[in-house]
Symmetry: C2
Subunit: 326 residues, 2 copies
DNA sequence: TTGAAAGCGCTAACAT
DNA sequence: ATGTTAGCGCTTTCAA
């Protein structure tokens, strides 16, 4: 089957390829009769412009890549939805690359998109340091960092400040009388984990109840929770802080299996990725992240950055909110 | 900044562009010295092949589109993960288009990809009938349908047979003594909803306890659950069947809010998208879908279909499993 | 083993 | 208002 091109359309309509191009792109005045003939011809032949050829010629792809650590995490799938809808408003498509929180996969993904496939990149990096991607990042591509920052990185970033909310949450636990407060971290290398842990450390020290042995190192995924939870419970913690949404839900499942009632037997402070009710998180104090807003901001920012690649760096941060259990 | 192309690399290495192309594609024998010089030149210039130009020339994009109804649904994000990893093995990338279970967005997505952007398409369609997309689908593109089938569609399909498992689940409820068994459907137009409802209807009629007034029409999303659940409870149902994973979790949340204990006060039969424990579904009988396998099969099938576009249609179906509450 | 050159389908500058 | 045509960066045929 001979692929139909602009050539065939032009021929059948008795015009030049330029005229056809003008019409499908609405770029120039064309007489109504000509337009009609061409549109007729397009329809009859079932012509569809070849987007690749077009991109090749113009250099514009109308495609943004989102490199994301974990698609299955509701926090990130929410981000995807929001970003996609912002981009759609300017006719950009979104391409998802899933790194599964793996450095190598992130490098591979960056490599993929550094070959001119996309107009811009949104990156929720799993790296611990900017130097790890600096050399492989194409120098010229518009890129913004979302959720996690990399120290020393000169690109735009959109993040959520959880420091204050975390502090408030832990102060609240202490006010309720807890002093042995266990803590399960996310993946240690990422900025969000560090920020939250810093808040915990500061508050605990301020009250003179800091005890490093009550900190457990997690990985932001569910499978790290069980062991850590058990060991914190064994250490006699009366309250436990769990620092992301996935781990928080998993913790509830584990507790329930053990016959422990969160909110009664043990106080919990968890994280949540939206204000919408989420099953399993009813019995916790919560730090709620404005995830939708985060996604919208990121979408708008990459649009802005693509429109003006040489504008000065912007670092935008919005606040999470502490919501005590009612 | 002058973009670096194959031209510059060739010049600096003192060879032709053809030779550079041979080297970066490993397509021909090249003398070791030449290779060395060229590789040196590539490194020094930081050259990266322009993937768009390459696709334009060869017609190969190494890209597959997955048109998916709801990214935030764990069933589909699991599918995405699995498909992506199968495709990665043959160096294909996956592009996600999210339709939010909306016909117009599905049409838009199909339109996008019918302009030569991808080598193949995996479609979890939200349409009710093949005729709704027939005309807009490009005739020549490799495409497979996943999860949901469209009557009369000549393309490959990979689906999960839930009929038997659903029947078993309802038989089980009846064996436990229930006769007023409420039922909340998914989105009515899609094949999975129809199949499951057919199973329910058949079993209930077989036992002479079918009552159409116990059926509520849902939309496969969470927000449809509350009202429907309330009204079924008001109708005096002692057991309730909820026919997808999202709605099942939501139902638990609602019940808990009302102080009703599922598994004690009301028997529930839900759906679940993996064998992995999921919070909130402990107290239900479950129909478990082999979601990962579904994704893997789909990945392999699109690969196969792209390799041989003219092979005869294949319709693959795997079985869901009924797992009574323990 | 290497090079010259055509051409993939389209856009847009320039000419008419 | 419409047409002519160069050329985007690469692959690949054919020749040397």
């Amino acid at each position: 089957m001979g692929r139909i091109g602009i050539q065939e359309v032009a021929q059948r309509a008795g015009v030049s390829t330029a005229t056809v191009s003008y019409i499908i792109n609405n770029k120039k005045q064309v007489s109504p009769e000509t337009r009609k003939r061409v549109e007729q011809s397009i329809k009859e032949l079932g012509y569809r412009p070849n987007e690749i050829a077009r991109s090749f010629k113009t250099g514009k792809k109308n495609l943004v890549a989102f490199i994301v650590p974990d698609i299955a995490n509701n926090f990130f799938s929410t981000l995807i939805e929001e970003i996609e809808s912002v981009l759609a408003s300017e006719n950009y498509k979104l391409m998802i690359l899933n790194t599964k929180e793996t450095k190598q996969r992130e490098l591979d993904s960056i490599n993929t998109i550094s070959r001119g496939m996309v107009d811009g990149v949104i990156l929720a990096s799993t790296m611990g340091d900017y130097s790890e991607i600096k050399d492989v990042l194409p120098p010229s591509i518009p890129i913004i960092f979302i959720d996690r920052e990399l120290p020393g990185c000169p690109s735009d970033s959109i993040t959520v400040n959880c420091y204050d909310a975390t502090s408030a949450g832990i102060e609240n636990l202490i006010a309720k009388g807890h002093s042995r407060i266990g803590y399960i971290t996310g993946l240690p290398r990422i900025s969000t984990t560090i920020e939250r842990l810093n808040a915990y450390t500061a508050v605990m020290k301020k009250h003179g109840i800091y005890d490093a042995s009550l900190i457990r190192i997690g990985d932001s995924m569910s499978h790290c929770v069980k062991t850590n939870l058990d060991s914190l419970l064994d250490s006699g913690c009366s309250a436990i802080v769990i620092t992301n949404n996935v781990m928080a839900t998993e913790a509830m499942l584990q507790m329930l299996d053990k016959g422990i009632l969160p909110g009664r037997d043990v106080d919990m402070l968890g994280f949540k990725d939206s204000f919408q009710a989420q099953y399993g998180l009813q019995h916790m104090d919560l730090i709620v992240q404005p995830t939708q807003e985060l996604g919208q901001l990121a979408g708008r920012q990459i649009l802005k950055r693509m429109a003006d690649p040489s504008a000065p760096q912007e670092r935008i941060s919005i606040n999470a909110e502490f919501v005590p259990r009612r």
